[in-house]
């Protein structure tokens, strides 16, 4: 089994997808294991709470499994999963207004391990983070997706364009407007 896992780990992405399609044990597990954290973080950035982010992450991988045959290898598996993730998240946030649940309550976070920070500093930082999260949640969907992918996932403009199915110019324009709108939303708060 260990030898099989080792051989799977040596496969390039296209071969790994082919192994999944051939029902090779552990192949899709490996894809999930490699990408579960960034997919979860992407979902969390969209919906702002663990429960929904967890459900959406699972949904992303299930959809990816169902769509394995459509993976052409023209983009990386990560980009492909991000594309699925953005679509799943946009469908979710457009299906219901999650603003009330978009940020885990600040009160719940005041008692987490403060580490090296003092309690007041920690609280201030959390309040500010909650304000920014709430502001990001109010951005139009495409601007929000662009901001999240660029800021938190360090994707290039070209990669974001691939995920969103748009052009580099459109991605930069969306990023500009996302930041400009963020400033308006936070004007009275930061």
């Amino acid at each position: 089994m260990a030898a099989a896992d080792q051989s799977l780990a040596d496969l390039d992405e296209r071969a790994l997808v082919d192994a999944c399609l051939a029902n090779q044990p552990g192949a899709f597990d490996l894809i999930v294991e490699r990408h579960r954290r960034p997919v979860y973080l992407l979902c969390y950035r969209f919906v702002g709470n663990h429960e929904d982010a967890s459900d959406l992450s699972q949904d992303v991988f299930i959809r990816a499994f169902r769509g394995l045959r459509s993976f052409r290898g023209q983009s990386s598996i990560a980009t492909w999963l991000y594309r699925i993730g953005v679509n799943v998240c946009l469908n979710r946030v457009s299906a219901k207004t999650t603003l009330g649940k978009l940020t885990d309550p600040i009160d719940d976070r005041q008692f987490v391990d403060a580490g090296a920070e003092s309690a007041p500093d920690r609280i201030l930082k959390e309040e500010r983070a909650a304000q920014v999260r709430a502001a990001i949640a109010q951005l139009p969907p495409t601007q929000r997706a662009t901001l999240i992918l660029r800021t938190y996932h360090e994707m290039s403009h070209q990669e974001i364009a691939d995920v969103l199915g748009s052009s580099v110019g459109a991605v930069k324009a969306n990023f500009f407007h996302a930041l400009a709108n963020l400033k308006k939303l936070l004007r009275d708060e930061i």
Binding site: E33, Y40, S57, R128, I136, Y152, K172, A173, F176, K183
Partner: protein, 197 residues
């Protein structure tokens, strides 16, 4: 002429050196915009996502694995071929029934032909109703409906449904002439009439 949005983004991200945009040095609004963009990028970047429990990742993998295993196992109710095997003959049989009912109905309900000269009768006796090639049936809406419903049937499906070729009972029923149909109607009425016993 102020800088374009794309240029401002490139300058704010540092992917383009400020020295490549001489306008920036002389334009306070553009400099302010670049500064605002950087401030918002910094504010957004400072927002962390609470890290879930280390045990969470394996639970997520396990949930995905279970769902994928369920989907990967064959499910008879999702087997398209199985559905096709079941539904196609049933569909074909339904269409065949419609054809027979419509054919019989249209002939049984038709008014009896006026008396004709013996020679004409002989000619009419030889005339056989052919549902597939009867040009008059082109004007019959019910037959048009039947034709469209049965258009997708192939020979195999029709065979499975009992629509046999010439010489079969089904073929005979759908190709009766007027006298045969009247006799059939009489026999049916006789059978359906309340018994005197």
């Amino acid at each position: 002429m102020h800088l374009e949005e794309e240029e401002l983004v490139d300058l704010a991200e540092g992917t383009r050196p400020e020295s490549s945009a001489p306008h920036l040095a002389s334009c306070e609004p553009c400099r302010r915009q670049v500064g605002d963009l950087r401030a918002m990028m910094s504010a957004a970047a400072d927002v962390d996502v609470p890290e879930p429990s280390p045990l969470y990742w394996d639970r997520l993998s396990a949930r995905v694995r279970e769902t994928v295993a369920t989907e990967a196992s064959p499910r008879p109710w999702l087997d398209v071929a199985a559905w096709r095997r079941v539904l196609l003959p049933a569909w074909a049989a339904a269409v065949a029934s419609i054809i027979i009912v419509v054919a019989l109905g249209s002939r049984l309900m038709a008014p009896p032909p006026p008396p004709a000269a013996p020679a004409a009768v002989v000619a009419k006796d030889a005339e056989v109703v052919d549902l597939w090639n009867d040009r008059a049936s082109d004007d019959d809406e019910s037959l048009t409906l039947v034709a469209s419903l049965s258009a997708g049937l192939d020979l195999e499906a029709a065979g499975e449904a009992g629509l046999a070729a010439r010489g079969s009972a089904e073929h005979a029923v759908t190709h009766m002439d007027d006298d045969d149909l009247r006799e059939l109607k009489r026999l049916l009425m006789q059978e359906l009439a309340p018994s005197g016993d």
